[in-house]
């Protein structure tokens, strides 16, 4: 290359004119901040649990305070044997969050893989995955869970397996759609033309573009799983006592709703805010990632 210098000179003319792509200044979204803050708070408190000075033993009975409303001693009031509801929510939250996390990871890993392969390879792989998705989604969810619980017995593992079985096909379908879209873009063809191997195309070109969808849906899934677990507890299909989850606390409160409405409303509020925050963060992430695509 003899004429590199003029090339450089020409290119710097180009440089002067390059677009500072009109990227809108992001307004500080206080709702988003609140949602992230709430989630961080919930996770930290639940993880630390008993280590925190204000969290008591969730099974300790206070005979002086039975079925009492919120007070300075018992922030969320007490249950029918005098247990501290706030502490129960913290310790139960640990289990609920664990179920949510486990199911989300399993769902994203297995559902994501199925969807990715189906959308990228198409052909018979896609056909098989589509049948699996359709069939599993067609099975009445509740019956499936009852069936699994009947076989496996009530345990944490059963709950995670049962809810995962519902999450996998749903996530597979979403990832498949997203993959189909990405795999159709010209840069994937360009990689093929360059002679890039299939696996490398999948990992380097397709996956990074499916990832944002995946991450956003992970948050949404997490929220849905929390609600699903609570519903199962409510129906008595989730973990058995003495293990506590948010769902089981609410379920207990429901039995004596007239005496202990705080046992339904306060844990319910925590659950509600957590799920709402998860949904909101998922939605926002989806929107933010999208801006990168829009380009010119």
């Amino acid at each position: 290359m003899t004429n590199v210098a003029p090339d450089m000179a020409r290119a710097s003319v180009a440089a002067a004119a390059i677009t500072e792509a009109a990227r809108p200044k992001r307004k500080v979204n206080w709702v988003f901040r609140f949602a992230v803050g709430w989630l961080a708070l919930v996770v930290v408190i639940c993880m630390l649990g008993e280590l925190l000075p204000f969290v008591k033993d969730p099974n300790e009975r206070d005979a002086q305070a039975i079925s009492q409303g919120p007070s300075w001693d018992h922030w969320f009031g007490t249950a029918s044997f005098g247990q501290d509801v706030f502490s129960r929510v913290v310790i139960g939250g640990r289990i609920s969050l664990f179920v949510g996390f486990a199911v989300t990871v399993i769902g994203i890993a297995l559902g994501g893989l199925l969807g990715l392969l189906a959308g990228f390879l198409r052909g018979w792989v896609d056909a098989v995955v589509r049948v699996i998705i359709s069939v599993t989604l067609a099975i009445p969810a509740l019956l499936l869970v009852i069936f699994i619980v009947a076989i496996q017995g009530q345990s944490l593992r059963t709950v995670i397996i049962a809810v995962s079985l519902l999450a996998i096909p749903a996530l597979a379908r979403i990832v498949r759609g997203s993959t189909l879209q990405v795999a159709d873009r010209d840069f994937v063809k360009a990689a093929k033309v360059l002679g890039v191997k299939k696996l490398s195309i999948l990992v380097r070109e397709v996956l990074p573009n499916v990832m944002p969808t995946l991450v956003s849906f992970a948050f949404l899934t997490f929220g849905i799983v929390l609600v699903a677990e609570s519903s199962l507890s409510f129906l008595g299909l989730s973990v058995e006592a003495p293990t506590i989850t948010w769902g089981s606390i609410i379920g207990e409160g429901r039995i004596k709703f007239a005496e202990t409405p705080h046992m339904v409303f306060l844990p319910g509020a925590v659950l509600f805010l957590t799920v709402l925050s998860l949904n909101f963060v998922g939605d926002q992430l989806l929107k933010r990632f999208d801006i990168k695509e829009s380009g010119i």
Binding site: V4, R10, A14, F187, K189, L194, R204, K292, E293
Partner: protein, 329 residues
């Protein structure tokens, strides 16, 4: 078969790509789309072959089938004597670096999540250096296509459409290919930018000795960049000729219609540019010459017998029973 034949294939030792009787069909419910039907052509080293025609004529499919994306239904594609159509996929992958491609949509053809330098160097990552370019010289390549190397770490969305097309060109050049297929590379660009890319392609062709297959619906663009032009209609070759020669004496009635329709050439006395009727279905194409349903010179024979490609002098070939040239019956 109409519009078929191989009279226009050349016996040149420098032929890089030789396509013989290529057929591409896509099965759909209720039949099959005859996208490319018995098309033959060749590309000589250092040459630019323009392929021109309207939407649905199979020009893009023809070019993509050369690089086996998709693989043709039948026929042969020889690249330097090797038949690509029978190569197993790993052997085909080994040939890919020599046959590169630039796409129409500058945005869609670059991965939005990778840096420009990374995109351009991708070929080297797979194959290592194949001659001119090495990872250390990516800056030089960027400069050669008119992208400031200082912007190598940016993502594609920070560049304009024209700049994205330059990046695509660099990505194709990095492997020192023999052939670059340009599929409507300037159609999505503004006219002033279009000229930049056309000039750049000419320069790169000159400097790095690549041959181009240039697909476009725009006759002026094709004439400007091509040495030889092939006109297609409904998956068939209508006419093949040197660029200037084709425009000086278009012989196929379809070529003439295309030329008369070029905007700006409007005058009240030419009705050539308006074709009668609609484009027939590619699932059930017309018998005989596929253009006969819309051709102003159509005769009985056109409905029954497909014309063979034949020479009318000076490397000018036409597939028509009644070419519009003095002295040819």
């Amino acid at each position: 078969m109409a519009g078929s034949g191989t009279a226009h294939l050349r016996d040149d030792p420098n032929v890089l790509v030789r396509v013989e009787h290529m057929v591409v069909e896509f099965p759909i419910s209720g039949g099959r789309v005859h996208a490319v039907s018995d098309v033959s052509f060749d590309l000589v080293e250092g040459e630019t072959l323009g392929i021109v025609g309207e939407s649905g004529c199979g020009k893009s499919t023809t070019a993509r089938a050369v690089i086996q994306m998709p693989r043709p239904t039948s026929g042969n594609v020889f690249f330097r004597g090797t038949d690509l159509t029978t190569l197993p996929s790993e052997a085909l992958r080994q040939v890919r670096p020599d046959l590169q491609m630039i796409f129409q949509d500058p945005i869609s053809s670059l991965n939005p999540r990778r840096t420009v330098r990374d995109i351009i160097a991708e070929g080297l990552r797979v194959w290592g250096s194949r001659g001119t370019w090495t990872p250390e010289r990516i800056d030089e390549l960027m400069a050669a296509v008119g992208i400031d190397p200082r912007y190598g770490e940016r993502k594609p969305h920070q560049f304009s459409g024209g700049q994205c097309q330059r990046i695509s060109i660099a990505r194709a050049l990095v492997l020192d290919p023999k052939v670059i297929i340009c599929d409507e590379p300037v159609s999505a660009l503004d006219v002033s930018v279009q000229a930049q890319i056309l000039n750049l392609l000419e320069d790169m062709k000159e400097r790095y000795g690549v041959s181009l297959m240039f697909i476009s619906h725009d006759l002026s663009v094709v004439k400007n960049i091509s040495d030889r032009v092939m006109v297609m209609y409904m998956g068939k070759v209508c006419e093949v000729a040197g660029s200037d020669d084709l425009f000086a004496r278009p012989a196929h009635p379809y070529t003439r219609a295309l030329m008369a329709a070029i905007p700006g050439r409007h005058s009240d006395d030419d009705d050539d540019g308006v074709l009668e009727g609609e484009l027939p279905s590619a699932i059930d194409p017309p018998t005989g010459c596929r253009f006969h349903t819309r051709c102003p010179h159509s005769q009985q024979i056109c409905k029954t017998t497909e014309p063979e490609i034949r020479g009318i002098g000076d490397g000018h070939f036409v597939a028509c029973h009644f070419p519009q040239v003095a002295g040819v019956e």
